[in-house]
């Protein structure tokens, strides 16, 4: 294992510490328990938004704390959901009296820990609503699984819910927007290489030199199917095909296309993937009205990519375009 780290046990606190210094204009970090919060929190009368989960997916979530997006992020250990304590602390830190929305990716650990935290915060008189993100079409949503995972679509939920909170929507409305985004976004990913969790020291799985893993999650967990390496265009057809099968578009509908790098993929490859995905959507008469290309929901140094499509309407587009000022996403100010 070769990593630019010191003691594996200190990876999260040191990274969060560095993040807070580098972005002290936007956030501050609490280290006991660990969370990252907007420097101007709590904002009276504004719904607070808290997200979190295991570390290793950066910039998710801390990179999205700031004006127009999250009020706080709670990073757990690498790939391990945080415990309730820091979630409760973050929830209290951002409560401006209008209640707090928890945006939770659908993993048993995240769901259970946020659930406990919500109960504890409610016991302290804070109104908490929760939205579970489960955009990953690689997993069948059935009685026979823990349900779909929350992956890169989470970024879109956070941005759009954040804009709704910033314009003054109340808790129910912000939760409704977040739910709406989640219901209209689908994602599918592929890995070319595995990643190494610092405390594990070994790759989560091994792929031969000509193998790729289709339907990968974001925790270094193996995907659903292992196939031989294909040209990028063929891989894009698989991923986007699965997304569009699950959420068909009518010609003329608008899409936001997110091509998300898993951390170790060069940018040229992301744009090669983006190009073919945009072409396929155009062939189907779908207008790619908004785009986002880059590393937003990663798995440490994993090489790979996920493709997300969000079905836009005027409301979602306007909220997407609204100003945002975070470490990892910024426009309009």
């Amino acid at each position: 294992m070769k990593k630019l780290i010191n003691d594996p046990k200190n990876v999260v606190t040191e990274a969060v510490g560095g993040f807070a210094i580098a972005h002290s204009d936007i956030v501050r970090a609490e280290l006991d328990p660990v969370f990252v919060v907007r420097s101007d929190a709590p904002r009276a009368g504004k719904v607070g938004i808290v997200s979190g989960g295991g570390s290793g997916h950066e910039p998710l979530h801390a990179g999205f704390v700031g004006y127009g997006m999250l009020d706080a992020a709670v990073p757990g250990p690498v790939f391990t959901s945080p415990t309730p304590d820091p979630i409760v602390a973050a929830t209290k830190a951002v409560d401006g009296g209008a209640g707090v929305l928890h945006i939770v990716k659908n993993y048993t650990g995240d769901v259970l820990n946020f659930e406990t935290a919500a109960d504890l915060a409610a016991a302290d008189g804070i109104e908490v609503a929760s939205v579970i993100v489960d955009d990953d079409v690689a997993v069948k949503d059935s009685l026979y699984t823990a349900g779909r995972r929350g992956v890169a679509g989470t970024v879109l939920v956070e941005k759009i819910a954040g804009a709704a909170a910033e314009r003054g929507d109340d808790l129910a409305a912000v939760a409704a927007i977040a739910t709406k985004v989640n219901s209209r976004v689908r994602t599918m990913g592929v890995a070319l290489t595995a990643c190494v969790v610092p405390h594990a020291g070994e790759p989560s799985f091994t792929l031969a030199d000509d193998e790729i893993e289709i339907g990968i999650g974001i925790h270094g967990e193996p995907g659903r199917e292992r196939i031989k390496l294909e040209p990028a265009d063929a891989i894009v057809a698989r991923l986007l095909g699965a997304v569009l099968d699950d959420m068909p578009f009518a010609a003329g509908e608008d899409a936001l296309l997110l091509v998300n790098g898993m951390g170790g993929t060069p940018q040229v490859e992301l744009y090669i993937v983006y190009r073919r995905a945009a072409e396929i959507l155009a062939e189907r008469g779908v207008t790619v009205a908004r785009s986002l290309v880059g590393n937003f929901t990663t798995s440490l140094e994993m090489q790979g990519v996920s493709i997300s499509v969000l079905k836009l309407d005027d409301e979602l587009t306007a909220l997407w375009d609204a100003p945002v000022q975070t470490a990892a996403l910024r426009w309009g100010r």
Partner: protein
């Protein structure tokens, strides 16, 4: 009937669990890497080391239920992941089940084990055969119940539970998972043991071993 088990046993159990989880840290990480995300050993080790530290802060008068309670809150606040809330709830429910009893007899142990298992089901909604820790806990509860009904000592109850949990953990190997991360893998989970079932078996074996040591002493 045999000697009942008191707070000394409860403390010794947690100490032994912390040891066995530290020893099995890498083994549990490896199991979880195969069908999960490779952190179960790290999570359990972190949690039980923390619980160990909390034991010292308990007053001498602490009951077994007090021990279970402090373990519960410590696991909830240090483990994270799926295992933290699940094991935390298990110990919390066990603590409630035994109340302020100073000494746990066979019947009390069965109550505690049953409450623990029910707590995990309440939070995680898993059924037997879903390839989770429930596949260790449910046979353990069944075996403990049967043993107690047959007049076993507390130590014998724990022995029955530990034996059954080990068999249950092993029996997760051929299963497809329907809960937790391994459920994403479909058929590919077949042939791998569930890490949570394995850690559950380790915990119950530790409970039995310290009881045996106490019984022999």
């Amino acid at each position: 009937m045999g000697a009942s088990l008191g707070a000394d046993w409860a403390r010794a159990w947690i100490t032994a669990s912390a040891e066995v989880l530290a020893e099995n840290r890498v083994a549990l990480i490896t199991l979880d890497r195969e069908i999960g995300d490779g952190d179960h050993g790290e999570n359990m080790d972190r949690g039980f080391q923390a619980a160990l530290g909390k034991l010292d802060e308990l007053p001498d008068s602490a009951t077994p239920g007090d021990v279970f309670k402090v373990v519960a809150t410590t696991l909830i606040s240090t483990v994270g992941g799926a295992a933290g809330p699940l094991y935390g709830t298990a110990f919390l429910k066990a603590s409630l089940a035994v109340g302020a009893e100073e000494q746990l007899d066979a019947a009390a142990l069965v109550l505690a084990l049953t409450a623990a298992r029910d707590g995990v089901v309440l939070r995680g909604k898993a059924e037997p055969g879903d390839k989770t820790m429930i596949d260790a806990w449910t046979p353990a509860v069944d075996a403990a119940t049967a043993a107690a009904a047959a007049g076993a000592s507390p130590y014998e109850v724990l022995k029955a539970a530990a034996d059954a949990a080990e068999r249950g953990a092993e029996a997760t190997e051929p299963l497809v998972a329907r809960k937790g991360r391994a459920s994403y893998l479909g058929e590919r989970a077949i042939g791998h043991r569930d890490p949570g079932a394995q850690s559950s078996a380790l915990l119950l074996r530790a409970a039995e071993q310290v009881a045996r040591a106490g019984a022999q002493a």
